[in-house]
Symmetry: C2
Subunit: 457 residues, 2 copies
């Protein structure tokens, strides 16, 4: 049934049509954060539903309480494995609009790339899967797996209704493998498969030392200072070796295997280019760990913001009565976000200097996710990469957090593999967002081959 | 020539007139910061000039480039000492106006106090000196000292032209004693003489770690964090004993004498009321020093404000590339503000962690001032207090800084004594500012007796 030549011929013939169809989707300004675009968001969902329905899928909109999600399914056989492609059709606002060279919702091809809001994040990447599945279905007459799509409309506003939607539709969404394409390949268009994500714990520390700000002349030398108390606490969150001092923080951390470490060492990661690209003069961190290991495998802690006292121009001689810090940790297997949050909150309270009252507010976090490299899903994707790119993929983890991926693991029991199709410089969330045209066509081909591989696995 | 009964009788007869005259001055909205009130500011200056000229003084306006200063002089004899009264006729804005019970520029007496903007700060206090001198001149036929007034119109906007005005008029302003009344007595209407002020050094520390804010998922664990670097620096500015770690910081500090220490111990200062009034649960500071000593005699360091990274509602997973702290020191004899600023800047730079670039911006500071308790000026004021209040004054220093007072010492070579007439709860700079009527009359009497004491000294 499977005829590589037929698929290749079909993909070749349809290159222009695939671009034009993506353009249609990109023309719909589905900005999820802007109430003025609510009907556009729904229009994009309906457009995707109709496209999937026209090509062999049972497709519908799932109401979520917010923007709808597109759900589509082609059930082939109970004996076949089931894959679910997750993505999102909503986009970031286009501001600052004056920095766009062409209209953000008037897609065009410039310098070999499709330029439009959502081209890479994530309409282009998720639509590559839609087109790949449709092409494969037509070329082979049937899919080699059961296939589902879940394409949501609230990713850019925190996927606020997604966990509940997954939970409510658990059986319909059941899958062996979840495929997500919403990220970037390594620089140089190196085929990249991401098999691990970090989790997140996020708190806000508030320090109070007096009932009001005090004059530093009238009170200096005899009262606690909230900004200094905050600094004293923050300065003690890491030790001289860059290790996080929260008691028990590392207890659940799983050391990576020798195999995985060897794998990481083979990643073509350029430490100097990394530093130069962001203007840092040093790359400090946990002692005895490589830069890649710290970025992808080790848990981290950062202060995301601080404030307190007088922040205006010039000088004001005030002793701040209040100060705050936003503090977050990226977590790795098997750290539990709730437990780490508790431990962090207790640690912050324990570090409060004399005369300071500490309050810890908890913000939303998320769990880490990890799929085995040698598991069926990651290896199926690797096989597809070999077919399409003629080389082995590089296996990476990331310090980023996609709570929904952990939800898929936890609620659906699925393996998750992130098949990155974009590039680091795609300017997602920025003016002149783009998606390389050849990488779009590669993505369509890769998606089709991935389904074939999963069918064989 | 000096007849106590005659002065007393005259002050008693003129109580109502003295209040009505102050009311006239208070009715002029001389808000120096508001360009809309520029002519009112000048009107207040002219009113004071005319009042002084009508009562035996040569009086004029000194142009400063900003609002004018009132200068008045009565030269009696080259053989007599010269006193100069410094004060200001400009006032703070009245906002928030809706919180005033009566119009801020419609003075009225309520609960035994004159209620109006400027009643205590500083029209009421400086005008008590004007009325005291006028009454003494009339009662005794001549003043016992040469007397000058310098009443400026820019105190509430930082006295920005005052130092230059003093410098340009150095010979005309020459005096043996400068008297300032622009502060508060100790609680309980305890007669208070302030003989020492602290100086000020003020810098802004800016830390930069990268060319832009970075995503904590993509970069966490491998890059410096400006907010954390800032905290690390700030946390090291004091040691475990609360001593400031700037090298050489204490080198020039003069230990107070046993006599002065004994004096300080006699000050009726209630540590618990101090803490309760400002809602602090502890009064930490330099080890081995009493609270009063820390407030008035020891140099201090405070962070006045900090900021960096995400400060909005909720959470954002960013690694700040920049953070800042405003840091100031209150200085004591014989610390030099410029040298301390240099040492502080160098120390901040030396504390910068790996990967952080530090910039130090210098803000305006000011010098400390100190007059000997047993000197002629302070003791003349003490003698006047004994005559008027029937008790000894309490001698205090303050942690506050009035750069102009140091300028008087430095440029005029004068002793300075601060004869506080107001109360802590006078609501200066706030709605319903007030000045106790009896304290106003006491101030007039005290001013007259002070001139007598200075004449005898």
């Amino acid at each position: 049934m499977s005829d590589p030549d037929r698929l290749a011929k079909l993909l070749s013939e349809r290159r222009d049509r695939h671009v034009q169809e993506l353009f249609e989707l990109l023309r719909i300004p589905s900005i999820s954060t802007d109430p003025a675009h609510e009907s556009d968001v729904r229009r994009a969902a309906a457009w995707l539903r109709d496209d999937l329905a026209a090509h062999g899928f049972e497709a519908e909109l799932l109401e979520t309480g917010g923007h709808p999600a597109v759900f589509a399914e082609r059930h082939v056989s109970d004996d076949l494995p089931t894959a679910l492609v997750y993505g999102h059709y909503d986009v970031q606002p286009a501001d600052p609009i004056e920095l766009w060279t062409s209209g953000p919702f008037e897609p065009t091809i410039r310098d070999g790339a499709i330029v439009a809001r959502g081209a890479s994040d994530d309409k282009g990447q998720v639509f590559a899967h839609v087109k790949g599945a449709e092409a494969l279905l037509e070329a082979d007459g049937e899919l080699p797996v059961n296939l589902k799509f879940l394409i949501e409309g609230e990713e850019e506003i925190g996927s606020r209704n997604l966990a509940a939607t997954i939970e409510a539709n658990r059986e319909r969404l059941a899958a062996d493998t979840v495929v997500v394409s919403d990220g970037a390949m390594l620089p140089g268009k190196v085929p990249t498969l991401t098999y691990g994500l970090k989790g997140l714990a996020y708190v806000e520390l508030r320090v109070r030392t007096a009932s009001r700000d005090l004059h530093s002349g009238a009170y200096g030398g005899a009262v606690p200072n909230a900004a200094m108390a905050l600094a004293a606490i923050v300065a003690r969150l890491k030790d001289a070796d860059g290790r996080i001092t929260v008691p028990g923080f590392y207890d659940a951390v799983v050391e990576i295997s020798d195999e995985e470490r060897a794998q990481l060492e083979r990643v073509p990661f350029d430490d100097e280019a990394f530093a130069a690209g962001i203007g840092v003069s040093a790359t400090p961190g946990e002692a005895g760990r490589s830069l890649v290991e710290r970025l992808w495998v080790r848990p981290t802690l950062d202060v995301n913001g601080i404030g307190g006292g007088f922040q205006g121009e010039g000088s004001k001689t005030v002793i701040p009565a209040e100060a705050f810090a936003k503090i977050s940790c990226r977590l790795v297997p098997n750290q539990d976000p709730a437990r780490i949050t508790d431990a962090l909150a207790a640690h912050l309270a324990s570090l409060a200097p004399e005369g300071s009252e500490v309050e810890v507010i908890r913000h939303a976090g998320g769990s880490w996710a990890l799929s085995p490299i040698d598991g069926r899903s990651v290896q199926a994707a690797a096989s597809a990469v070999r077919t399409v790119d003629g080389r082995d993929p590089v296996y990476v983890r990331t310090g980023g957090t996609i709570p929904v991926v952990a939800d898929f693991q936890r609620l659906l029991g699925a393996e998750v593999v992130l098949v990155d199709m974009g590039l680091e410089d795609d300017r997602i969330h920025s003016p002149n967002e783009k998606f390389d045209v050849e990488l779009y066509h590669r993505g369509i081909h890769l998606s089709a081959e991935l389904l074939r591989s999963l069918g064989r696995a």
